[in-house]
C-alpha cells in the first residue's frame, strides 16, 4: 500500500454566526441586499442548513429558497432557487449572481409591481454571515487504510470542511479528499469517484458512508 510523503491532516471547521443588521421583507429587497452583502453572507445562507440539518433527508433547501417558499409563498421561484446547483460555482460571487439572476427572471412586471408579496411580520429575511475557524485534529493519514480509519472517527464538522468548504478554496471545485488521494497516493480513479458524489443532496452520515465504501472497495481490489 502506497504511503504518502505528505499526510492528510484532518481539520474541523467551526463557525461563529454574526448579524449584518440587514433584512428583507420583499423579493426586491432580498435581491438588492444580496448584491451588497459580504461573500461570507452568501456562503452562510447557502451552506449553514447543511450543518444544521445534517441528519435530515430530504434536507431543507438553502435559506433563500426556504424563505421565498415559506415566507413569501412564491413556490415557483422557491423551487428554482432550491435547484441552483451550488457545486457548479467556483466562487461565491458567481453563486451570488446565480441567485440574483433567478430572482430577476421571476419579475414579470418589474420590481415595483403592486402584487409583490411582503413577508409576514416576524418572518423577514435577516442576512447573517459567519467567521469560519479551521482547527487541526489529531487524525492524520499516510495511506488509504489510515485514511479510512480516520474517516470513521472524524466529526461531521471535519467532514464538512474537507468536502464542502474545500471546493471554494484553490484548487477550486475539488474536495480535499480527492485532491490528496490523487496527488499523494496516485489514486486517481478513487479521487474521481469521490469527486462525483453530490454532497448537497444527502446527509452528512450518508456521505461519510459512501466515501468509506468507495475507499474500502478500492482497498479490496
Amino acid at each position: 500500500m502506497k504511503r504518502a510523503k505528505y499526510p492528510f491532516i484532518f481539520k474541523a471547521q467551526l463557525s461563529l454566526v454574526e448579524m449584518t443588521g440587514v433584512k428583507a421583507a420583499t423579493l426586491c429587497q432580498l435581491r438588492d441586499h444580496l448584491k451588497e452583502v459580504p461573500e461570507s453572507s452568501v456562503y452562510y445562507h447557502t451552506h449553514h442548513f447543511l450543518r444544521q440539518h445534517q441528519f435530515a433527508s430530504p434536507e431543507p433547501p438553502n435559506d433563500f429558497a426556504y424563505w421565498v417558499t415559506h415566507a413569501l409563498q412564491e413556490g415557483v421561484l422557491g423551487e428554482r432557487l432550491a435547484a441552483i446547483d451550488i457545486l457548479q460555482f467556483m466562487t461565491l460571487n458567481d453563486l451570488r449572481n446565480a441567485f440574483i439572476q433567478a430572482i430577476d427572471l421571476s419579475f414579470k412586471n418589474g420590481c415595483d409591481a403592486k402584487d409583490l408579496r411582503v413577508s409576514p411580520a416576524g418572518m423577514e429575511f435577516h442576512f447573517l454571515k459567519c467567521t469560519i475557524f479551521t482547527i487541526p485534529t489529531a487524525e492524520i493519514a499516510y495511506d488509504l487504510k489510515e485514511f479510512v480509519n480516520c474517516l470513521k472517527r472524524i466529526s461531521p464538522n471535519c467532514l464538512y470542511n474537507h468536502v464542502f468548504e474545500s471546493c471554494l478554496r484553490p484548487p477550486y471545485g475539488v474536495n480535499d479528499f480527492s485532491n490528496w488521494l490523487a496527488t499523494n497516493l496516485d489514486e486517481h480513479d478513487l479521487a474521481r469517484k469521490i469527486g462525483r458524489l453530490d454532497p448537497y443532496t444527502q446527509t452528512m452520515e450518508g456521505l461519510r458512508g459512501k466515501i468509506i465504501h468507495l475507499a474500502e472497495q478500492r482497498m479490496r481490489e
Binding site: A56, G122, T134, I135
Partner: protein, 409 residues
C-alpha cells in the same frame, strides 16, 4: 445539585463534540475570562452561568464570575430599563440615569476587571466597560433581552456604553440593533442533563401522570406556558375545538401558578371560561419548580403546541423538540430558528392553521413521528449546552482575530 462534568455530556452529544471543545479551549490556554451579571441566583442568566462555568474550567479556560451590587432603587431603575427595552413605555428620568451611572462607578471601585476577556451580561452592569481603557483588555456585551422594538431614549442611553465594547451578542437576528460593533448570534440552549430535560423511564413518566391525574386514554395535545395573553391559551382551545369533529383527543394547558400575577389570574379565568365543561380540556397549574413534572408531561404528549403571539427564543419549544415530539408553533420570535416548517416541526400563523396541522399530525402519526425525530436531531446538533459553550469559545477566539472572516487556528 452537583454540576455535571464533560464526561456526562459526552454520553449525550458524543465524543467528537467534546473533543472539538477541547481543541478550541486549547487555543485559549492562558487566557482568563470573567463573567459579570447582576444576580447569583434566580433567572436564566444565573442558571446558565452556573452550568457553564464549571465546564469552561474543566476545559482549561480559567473562568470566574462576579456579581454587581446595587440597592433597591437601582434595581427599580434597571427594571424600568428592562421593560422599556421590551417596548413597554417607561418614564426614564434624569434621576434614573444619574443613579444608574453612580452605581456603575461604585461597582468599578469594587471590581478589578483585569481578566483578558470581560463578559458582561445584560444592561445592569453595562457601564463597567469604562475600565477597558485602563487594561486594554477585550470586552463582550451579551444581551439576553428582546430589544427588537425598544423605547428609543433608553436604548440610546445604553447604546453609548454598548458601542465601547469589542463585541455584542444577541439571541436572535430579530433582536439585534444597528450598532458600530460586530454582533454575534448565539442562540440560547437547554441542558440535556437537567431535571426538565433528562431522559425519564416509562415508570417515571407514568408515576407523574398518575400523580397529576392526567388520563392517557386519548392522544394528548399539550401547551406548556404561563397563563399570559401573549401565549394565546384561548387560541389554543379554539384550535383544539376545531378538530373535535374529526379526532378524539385531549388538550392539556399547563402553566405556572398565577397567585402573584393579577393579569395571569385574569387570563386563567378566561381560559377556564373558554374550556367550559369540556372533560377533554384540562387546565393544570403547577409550581415553578415542577421541572420533572413538565418533563414527564412533555414526554407523555402526542403533539405539543406553542401558539404564542410573541415569543423570545422559545426554550419551551427546544425542550419539546428534545423529547422527540412533533411541535406546532407560531412563526414568531426565535421559533423559526428552531423549526424548519415541515422538516423539524410545523410553523403556523393562525388559529385555523394550528387546527389544520393538529388534525394532520394526529391522523398521520408516521409523519408526526418523523417530524419529532428530525426536531430532536436538530436540538442535539444546535441547541444543547455544549453548542452554547462552543459558540462562546469561538466568540472569545474571534476577539483575537478582528476583521477576519476565515481564521486558521
Amino acid at each position: 445539585m452537583k454540576p455535571s462534568s464533560l464526561s456526562h455530556y459526552e454520553a449525550v452529544v458524543g465524543s467528537q463534540v467534546i473533543h472539538e471543545l477541547r481543541l478550541l479551549a486549547g487555543k485559549l490556554a492562558g487566557k482568563k475570562i470573567l463573567h459579570v451579571n447582576s444576580t447569583a441566583v434566580g433567572g436564566g442568566v444565573a442558571e446558565i452561568l452556573n452550568h457553564m462555568i464549571p465546564l469552561f474550567n474543566e476545559l482549561g479556560v480559567q473562568t470566574r464570575w462576579d456579581v454587581i451590587k446595587g440597592g433597591e432603587e437601582y434595581y427599580a431603575v434597571t427594571k424600568k430599563i428592562h421593560n422599556a427595552l421590551h417596548g413597554n413605555p417607561e418614564e426614564f428620568t434624569a434621576a434614573d440615569r444619574a443613579l444608574f451611572m453612580e452605581t456603575q462607578e461604585k461597582n468599578l471601585k469594587q471590581l478589578e476587571l483585569r481578566e483578558d476577556i470581560v463578559f458582561i451580561h445584560d444592561p445592569q452592569p453595562v457601564g463597567l466597560v469604562k475600565r477597558k481603557e485602563k487594561y486594554k483588555n477585550k470586552w463582550i456585551w451579551r444581551c439576553h433581552v428582546d430589544v427588537s422594538s425598544p423605547q428609543a431614549d433608553v436604548w440610546e442611553f445604553l447604546k453609548g456604553y454598548v458601542e465601547a465594547y469589542d463585541r455584542s451578542v444577541f439571541s436572535s437576528p430579530a433582536f439585534s440593533r444597528k450598532l458600530s460593533i460586530p454582533q454575534a448570534l448565539v442562540c440560547p440552549s437547554i441542558d440535556p442533563l437537567s431535571d426538565k430535560n433528562r431522559e425519564l423511564s416509562a415508570e417515571e413518566v407514568d408515576a407523574v401522570m398518575n400523580r397529576l391525574k392526567i388520563p392517557r386514554d386519548k392522544p394528548l395535545v399539550t401547551q406548556v406556558s404561563r397563563f399570559d395573553r401573549l401565549k394565546d391559551p384561548v387560541g389554543v382551545i379554539q384550535a383544539f375545538k376545531g378538530i373535535r369533529n374529526y379526532v378524539d383527543a385531549r388538550l392539556l394547558l399547563v402553566g405556572g401558578s398565577a397567585d402573584d400575577d393579577p393579569e395571569g389570574a385574569e387570563v386563567l379565568l378566561e381560559v377556564k371560561e373558554a374550556a367550559g365543561n369540556d372533560p377533554d380540556i384540562l387546565v393544570l397549574l403547577l409550581p415553578p419548580t415542577s421541572h420533572l413534572e413538565i418533563n414527564a408531561i412533555q414526554r407523555a404528549s402526542t403533539v405539543i403546541v406553542q401558539k404564542s403571539l410573541r415569543e423570545g427564543f422559545g426554550l419551551t419549544i427546544t425542550e419539546a423538540l428534545w423529547k422527540g415530539k412533533p411541535v406546532i408553533a407560531s412563526a414568531v420570535g426565535g421559533i423559526p430558528l428552531q423549526i424548519a416548517h415541515k422538516y423539524s416541526g410545523i410553523l403556523t400563523h393562525s388559529i385555523e392553521g394550528t387546527s389544520y396541522w393538529l388534525k394532520q399530525l394526529l391522523q398521520e402519526p408516521e409523519y408526526a413521528k418523523k417530524l419529532g425525530e428530525n426536531g430532536k436531531e436538530h436540538v442535539l446538533h444546535n441547541f444543547l449546552l455544549t453548542r452554547h459553550v462552543r459558540d462562546y469559545l469561538l466568540l472569545f477566539l474571534s476577539l483575537f482575530y478582528p476583521n477576519q472572516s476565515y481564521v486558521i487556528l
